[in-house]
Symmetry: C2
Subunit: 209 residues, 2 copies
């Protein structure tokens, strides 16, 4: 499958390399491919880059930061229509210092805001509950842990779950429609606290049931 990933921070390239290792074709979307390629960490990367308006793929992954997610997806535009769009981002507001707060509310998640703005896209929330080192290497933890998927389109959730399986995920839990993204995003303050206490990002939750 040809997967386009929006975002050139830590998450986008990590997922890009992992999807490519799993046999997928990957393009990384960015506002300016020239600017991105000029950064030291991108100089030796062989991940293909494309400007947002030129991004075409079978499936899209938003790996921008939460504050930039809507603008990035709107820059891709109608190429998202009908496509599965996996949103990995979190609505983190750093403006009030540490720890950050969320810029959403208890009654609307960022993923729901993105779906409302892009009604023809098939939004799926996945990957936002963990660090990229865990997303791309679930077997690197001491035992099996859980990844969650939420979205309004049943087939889109199944497609996203299949991609998680391609990366080695063996416990993919289907939360149903996109309102579940509220809970997945509200998990982030506890994730941040755990990160501070553990001193490393190699952790995740296992849903024991």
């Amino acid at each position: 499958m040809h997967i386009a990933i929006l975002g050139t921070g830590a998450v986008g390239p990590a997922l890009g390399r992992a999807f490519r290792a799993a046999g997928h074709q990957v393009t990384i979307g960015t506002r300016s491919p020239e600017e991105t390629r000029s950064r030291p960490e991108w100089a030796d990367s062989d991940l293909p880059l494309a400007a947002y308006p030129d991004l075409r793929a079978d499936l899209f992954v938003n790996a921008t930061n939460g504050a930039g997610a809507l603008a990035a997806l709107q820059a891709v535009g109608s190429a998202l229509d009908g496509k599965v769009v996996i949103d990995t981002s979190n609505p983190i507001d750093h403006s009030q210092g540490f720890p950050p707060v969320l810029f959403t509310s208890f009654t609307e998640s960022l993923a729901e805001q993105l779906q409302a703005a892009l009604p023809q896209a098939r939004l799926v929330k996945m990957f936002n509950t963990m660090a990229n080192q865990v997303m791309t290497n679930p077997g690197g933890l001491s035992q099996e842990s859980t990844i969650f998927v939420a979205g309004n389109d049943d087939e889109a959730r199944q497609t996203a779950a299949g991609l998680a399986a391609d990366l080695g995920w063996t416990d993919v839990f289907d939360l149903g429609d996109l309102t579940a993204a509220r809970g997945l995003e509200l998990w982030i303050p506890l994730w941040i606290r755990l990160y501070v206490r553990l001193g490393h990002p190699m952790f995740n939750l296992k849903l024991v049931r």
Copy 2:
């Protein structure tokens, strides 16, 4: 240890029976012992009842609903001074229908509100992340899961962790000061969604690290 538990709903009596089975003395606090004893589910209970102003113990547990927590603790009053007070409640607002929202904010938890109102008590947040059936029987799940403890007083957190161990908890994770209660309470929307999807409350998270 003599443990007083505020609250006569599902959580209070369940914790009371479990602490008693673990060898502790238990008194259940209520606004009106006569009214509580007149309820069908309390008619045959041998758990001792006491009115809030008469409640005395070595350690207190708040098992009221979140909306009533502050009033209940204030009704106990100065008997809480210097004592460990374990807050199991969640700031759930049912007024807007299902799913409920929280009546707190991203920058203040209910536990912090209670600590601010009762500065002489040694507040510890624990037990709020799971159903009472799991609190009192962690071994009833298919594998080990995690319970979290947060509070400003190191010794109080250790005391609470010891009580969890008395109930069979083998993975008690210390989150540090009471600001961590924000994350623990923000977990509830995801807990509610998981409860709906699983159709039962016998689940919990394991912190895999």
